[in-house]
Amino acid sequence: MREPEISPDGAVRVGVYICHCGTNIAGTIDVRAVTEYAATLPHVVVARDYKYMCSDPGQTLIQQDIRDHHLTRIIVASCSPLLHEHTFRAATAGGGLNPYHFQMVNIREHASWVHEDRQAATEKAKDLVRAAVFRVYFHEPLERREVPINPDVLVVGGGIAGIHAALTLAGARKHVYLVEREPSIGGHMAKFDKTFPTLDCAACILTPKMTAVRTNPHITLWTYSEVVGVEGYVGNFKVTVKRKPRYVIEDLCVGCAECIEACVYKAARFPDEFNLGLGKRKPIYLPFPQAVPLVAVIDPETCIEFKSGKCKKTCVEVCGERNAIDFTQEEHTETIEVGTIILATGFQVFDAKRIPYYGYGVYPNVYTALEVERLVNASGPTSGEVVLRDGRTPKSVAIVHCVGSRDENTNRYCSRVCCMYSLKLAHLIKEHTDAEVYNFYIDMRTPGKGFEEFYNRVAEEGTQLIRGKVADVYPEPGDGGRLIVQAEDTLLGKVRKIPVDMVVLAVGLEPQADAQDVRRMFNITCSTEGFFLERHPKLAPVNTFTDGIFLAGACQGPKDIPDTVAQAGSAAAEALALIDAGTVELEPNTAYVVEEACSGCKTCVPLCPYSAISFMEATQKAQINEVLCKGCGVCVAACPSGSIRQHLFQDEEIFEEIKGVLAHA
């Protein structure tokens, strides 16, 4: 069984195609030698090389050969199957063959790009091609499984990415569940004052969209809620959502804020999360004035009723007949079924305390850029006045770029938005205070529509732009209260020490603290720096490796608002494409039991994580439910009698590959 034989009717006729990929492969691998070698292998009828196999002429070449040479198996040695397997299967099918009579050989990512020795890389390519030639002999015609797509969509995260995706989908009259962890949607964008480079007020462009979410009949908005469980597969996900108690009944509260006014705490005295602790709130509060939904929240950590049970409950009294306050609310979960999921979980800002020499958390006048966004915001804790913690207006301000970005000790990547938001803050601080503003930058990165023009404008306004990485921030000797910012000005070639009243740290963007947990829950992957990994950086930027789950916004990597919105629209379009097709085809790589060979030992039954294997008492045999099977092959490897088999990964096929890669011994 394991020896490839020439079938009696001569049915196995293999075509092998070696791709140059321009010089990506041909630069390191002797493509001609591999092709000539392939031609000598058993059952190979045609072996060719071509500049770009994935191009239209390349695919046509395969299809022409299928017709002219009556090929029954196709092998393409080129890039990773994760990139172009689909392309070549389609080409194979287009030539009239079953698409699973195709096998791909990865000689780019796994050979030409990682080896320098031309001869060794060429030999490796030959070995891999030989393994495929041996393997395809055993390929069987397979049918893709078709499953229906549930048209409902889950969007996780209610920042600008999630909002835009949800509205796009709802515009196509698809039902969307928008789940947001915080009590209000809006995300980081709701905290910003103005947006670069146009200086649009963030609230003016965001809050109408937030309201549109609330009023849209196709959107179910669940705030103060978190996804805690995901099961199923593309088209048929079952999602469990935890809904945290806000102790105020959402349907009854009108957001009048009378309860807040009436709270037994006469003054607000607890740090306000939305204003990053720069302002204060009461135990019962509205997240911010434009919150959606505009529903009060009670914080049980600070509310006297929760702490002692002896509060006068003036809030309940004033709420009166509306009866919206309910101290007995409990956390509960809801289960929903959706066909597609868009993750728009956003980012967190870099924790500036990780760079101790910048003095954040030590010197009160060192702020993060996000805090300054709140200070310059008219609805912020200071009503838009840029003042220090002691109430003084700063006369000089230093803005330090690249805090937690482009730094070997923290994050090596560029956070992409900091140069632009630092220039914007320079402009806004000047506008609000008339202070002298110094921007310390490593490189000024302003690629984007209207960005360079904005940079020039800020420079012309008189912001001091100093090219140098800040090395230290320390108090000025004496009791002037100022801070010295020290940096080597790399254009002047000398160290500068500039005394300022206020230091603003342009903190970078990082993956959310729980990104790894979220990744596990949704069964997707993260890139090296911890952002969610897209399926392909160029060709599938919103797809993940898990079908039916898409990415939008900064959870995939740092990006500004225009890019976030563009990506959110793209994710929505990808989801819509699946929904409109109505069904989705799944890989036919499921396992199955050959009943005659099954000894009924039940070894396999507990191994399956999806409970797809059951034991049939009547026949004393195991049975695999094809719909539940996800094709991992764990049971196949475990079956002692070899009676469980797996399409696409049959034992013979893998044994042939082993034999193939080692055959030259």
Binding site: V114, Q119, A131, L662
Partner: protein, 166 residues
Amino acid sequence: MPDGGLETSSVTRDGFEPRIVAFFCNWCTYTAADLAGTSRMKYAPNARVIRVMCSGRVDPQFVLDAFARGADGVLIGGCHPGDCHYQEGNYKTLRRVHLLRRVLREMGIEEERLRLEWISASEGDRLRTAVNQFTEQLRTLGPLSVEAPAEALTETAPVAAEEVAA
């Protein structure tokens, strides 16, 4: 079957270049190898990758077959514990590898010749290191020789393979 001057890949200046059969899971380690490629990391050309959907698909017989056919080492790459795309396939792999090492020992094969690595999709550098280190280790060990306990090989293997299968 003609072999077209293939000896070159197994013979170098110092005489021995180990041959490694690598079973990589589709979701983590195979993708990490792709990432190493797109990042143009350079590593030893000794490993030949066979893609499986999950490291849990690696039948112990595949490993024994690879050694029988002349592999000097077998590398299995899966997702980190807790990160398996199929929830827990990698734990099954770990279990099998422990038992397989015992079988290999009894067959007179150094157990270090079977290596298990958890490499996630983002760890291209880890993949490079794993292949380089394993290659180096096998160079030190030298070519696989299974001449020694021929009886043990025939007697133990089928039983043990079954035991390992679970």
